[in-house]
C-alpha cells in the first residue's frame, strides 16, 4: 500500500456528526462538564478527537507539535522539541502490538542509510500493559523497545511516547493518526514536509 496523505480529497459527513453528537451533548451534559480520558471512565465525543474515528491528521506545511511526552529507550524523560530542533527529522511512529509497523523500521533504516542530513527516530506510540502483573509501564515499554532494537538489528535511536487514545490531548489525537506505521518528515524549521501512512516503498520517497 502506497499511502501518502497529501493528494487525497475526502468527502466528509461532519455536519451529520456534529448535529447528532451535539444534540446528545446538550441533552445530557452541560458543555465542559466532563473530560474524556482513560482514567475516569468518560469516553470522548467525535468532536473531541478530530470529528470521527479517522481524523484528518497533520498535513504538509503544518507545524509539527512538540508538546507531548517522550522517553528514551531506558525510560528517561526527554524533550521532543530539543530532539528535532534545527534538524530535518524522520519520525517513524510504530507500536510493538502491530507487527507491520515494527517490520517497517528496518526498511526505513536501510533507505536512510545513516544520512547525516536527516536524522531518523523511531517512536513506540503507546505503553505496554501492566494491569495484572504490575510494574512501571514506561520502563516495561522501554524494555520491549530494546528487545525490538536487538532483534531487528536497528541502529537508530528509539523512544517511548505514552498515548491515551481516549484523551483528546492524547498523542494519536493530537497528531491525528490511527494507522501505524505513520511516518512524518519534519523539516529543520519544524514544519511537516510529508506524511506516510502504512508500509511504503521507501526508495520512491525523499527521506
Amino acid at each position: 500500500m502506497t499511502t501518502s496523505r497529501r493528494a487525497i480529497h475526502r468527502d466528509r459527513l461532519r455536519v451529520g456528526c456534529s448535529a447528532a453528537a451535539g444534540a446528545l451533548m446538550l441533552t445530557l451534559y452541560a458543555p465542559g462538564s466532563v473530560l474524556a480520558d482513560s482514567v475516569d471512565g468518560v469516553f470522548p465525543t467525535a468532536e473531541e478527537v478530530g470529528g470521527e474515528v479517522f481524523p484528518e491528521g497533520l498535513k504538509v506545511g503544518d507545524a509539527f507539535p512538540t508538546d507531548w511526552e517522550i522517553y528514551d529507550d531506558h525510560g528517561k524523560k526527554t524533550d521532543v522539541g530539543k530532539l528535532i530542533k534545527g534538524k530535518r527529522t524522520v519520525l517513524a511512529f510504530f507500536i510493538s502490538a502491530v507487527p507491520v509497523s515494527v517490520q517497517e523500521l528496518k526498511k526505513l533504516e536501510k533507505v536512510h542509510n545513516g544520512s547525516s542530513k536527516t536524522q531518523l527516530l523511531f517512536v513506540n506510540t503507546d505503553l505496554v500493559g501492566a494491569g495484572l502483573l504490575g510494574g512501571n509501564r514506561v520502563d516495561e515499554t522501554a524494555r520491549t523497545v530494546r528487545v525490538i532494537q536487538r532483534e531487528e538489528k536497528l541502529n537508530n535511536r528509539m523512544f517511548v511516547a505514552p498515548n491515551d487514545a481516549l484523551d483528546p490531548a492524547g498523542l494519536s489525537n493530537k497528531l491525528g493518526f490511527r494507522g501505524l506505521p505513520t511516518v512524518y518528515v519534519v523539516d529543520a524549521d519544524g514544519r511537516v514536509e510529508n506524511v506516510y501512512v502504512g508500509p511504503q516503498n521507501w526508495s520512491d520517497t525523499n527521506i
Binding site: D11, E140, A165
Partner: protein
Amino acid sequence: MSISRRDLMKGAMAAGVAGAASGFGMKAAQAAVHDATGERQHDLFKQFKGNVVLLPGKYSGAVSAMDLSVPETLAWYSFGLAGIDMPIPHHIAALPSADPYKGFDFYQTMQPPAAPYVNENSPEWRDRGAFKMFKMRYDGSGQQNKISIVSDVSEATGMALGVHVSIGVGPNANKYVAYADGQKDMVLITDISDDPKIVKAFRCDYDPVARQVNISHIFPDQATGKFDFIDRKGMKTSHEAMLGEELMPADPTAVFVDAFTWHPELPLGAILIRRLGCCAIVDTNTWEVLAMLSTGKGAPDNFPLVKQQGYTWTFSIPSVLTPLHEAGFITSGEYFLACNNVLQNNIAVYRSEDPNPLKWKKETFVEGFGRKYLPLHMGNVPDSRWVFFTIWARKPHNGYICKVDPKTWKVVAKWDTGPDPHTCDCTVDGQFITTVYSGHQAGQSGMVVIHADSNEIVARLPNPGGMHDHVVVPESWEGLKSSRSTSV
C-alpha cells in the same frame, strides 16, 4: 469417657448404612446429575430445570457446563490438556439438544492471552497461548460426565480465529457455523460436521487514504485444501482491541471484525465491523456482499459500493462517526440492532424484513447512555417481547444490563449486576435472562439470573473464571434463534 478413632469410624459407617437403607442422600459416586430435592435451595433453583449453561473462563483456561437447576458443575475441561500454555477460552455457542443432560455439542474459540493487562510483546508473554476453534462435546450419558474435543476446527481448516462463534438458524439451520476475529479481520464459515469443511471465508481491509473498505472472499490453498492462517499467522495486531481501542493506533488496514450474526428468517448474515461502525450484509446462498450498513447516528443507512472486482467488494467509507461493537437480529427478524459505542453510545434500530438489505432503514435509536456507558452485547428472548443489552463501562464504573421494549425502543429496566458485564442469554423457556460479569479478568465475577418480566434478580452464582461469555444450551433449532446465532 473417651471414644477411640476406630469406634468413631464404626459408628459413622453404621449411620451411613442405616441412612442408605432408609433411602436418603447416598448415591453412587460420580452420578451424572445431582438430585437436589430436599435441599434448602431447591425451591429456588428447580424452576431452572432443563437449563445447562456453558461457561468459558477467559483467564482460567477451562470451560464448564453447569446445571442451573441444582446448581452444580456437570463437567469441565481444561484446555491445558490440549497442550496450550495459558489458554484463553473466549466465546462460545451451543448446538441445540433436546436433552442437554445427556449430551450436546458446542463450539469454543480461543485467543492468546495478549491484552493490555500484560506486556504482551515481552519475551515472556509473546508466544503464550494460541488462536483456536474447537468443536466440543458434552457427554452426560455415563456414570461420569465429561467434556471432550471433537475436532480442532483451526487445524482442519488452516484458519484460526479467536472471537465470536455463531451458528446458522432459519434457512441456515443445521448447516453452518461462523467464526470471526478482529485481530485478523477474517470470518470463516464451515459446516457443522465433526470433520469440519470450509464453506466460505472473508477478509476485510481498510484503505485509510482512499477511505474504502475491501471485503474479499479468500480461498484455501488448492493443494492442501487449507488456509495458511494457523495460530498467529495473519494477525494484524497482537491483542484484540478493548472497548475504546477502536481509536488506538493499529495496523492501517485494521477494522476489528468481531462476529457474524445470522438472520432468523432470511438467507442473510451480517459481518460486524467495529472500527468502521459498519455491518456488511451477506447473502448466505451466494456469499455475495449485498450492502454495507453504516449504523452511526447522522450517517447514511448504508455506504455505497464503489466496485466489485472478482471476489472483492469495495465500499466507500467517507467518514466513521462512531465505532460499534455487536449487532444482530431480534428473534423475529423484524429488526437489526447495532450497538454503536465509544463516540456515540446508542443502539441503531433498522427494520430488516426486506430481502434486499439496501432497503433497510434506521427507524430510531435507543438512547440515553451518556458518555460513560457503552452498548456492548445484545440478548434475545424467543418471542421478541424484550431485548436485553449489556452496557459496559470502564473502571471505576460497573456498567449494567438493560431491558428495552421493542414497541417503544425505550429502556424500561436496568440492573447493575457487577463490574465488567458481558453477554446476556435466556433460559430455554424465555422466562429468565442470564448474564455474566468478569471483574476485568481479576476481580469480582459471577453470573446473575433475572426474571425477564418481573425484573427481579432471582439468583447470583459465583464464577471463579472471569467469564467473558456464556450460553444456555438451546433445546431446538427454533430455540437457537434466541441464542448465539442471531446476536452475540
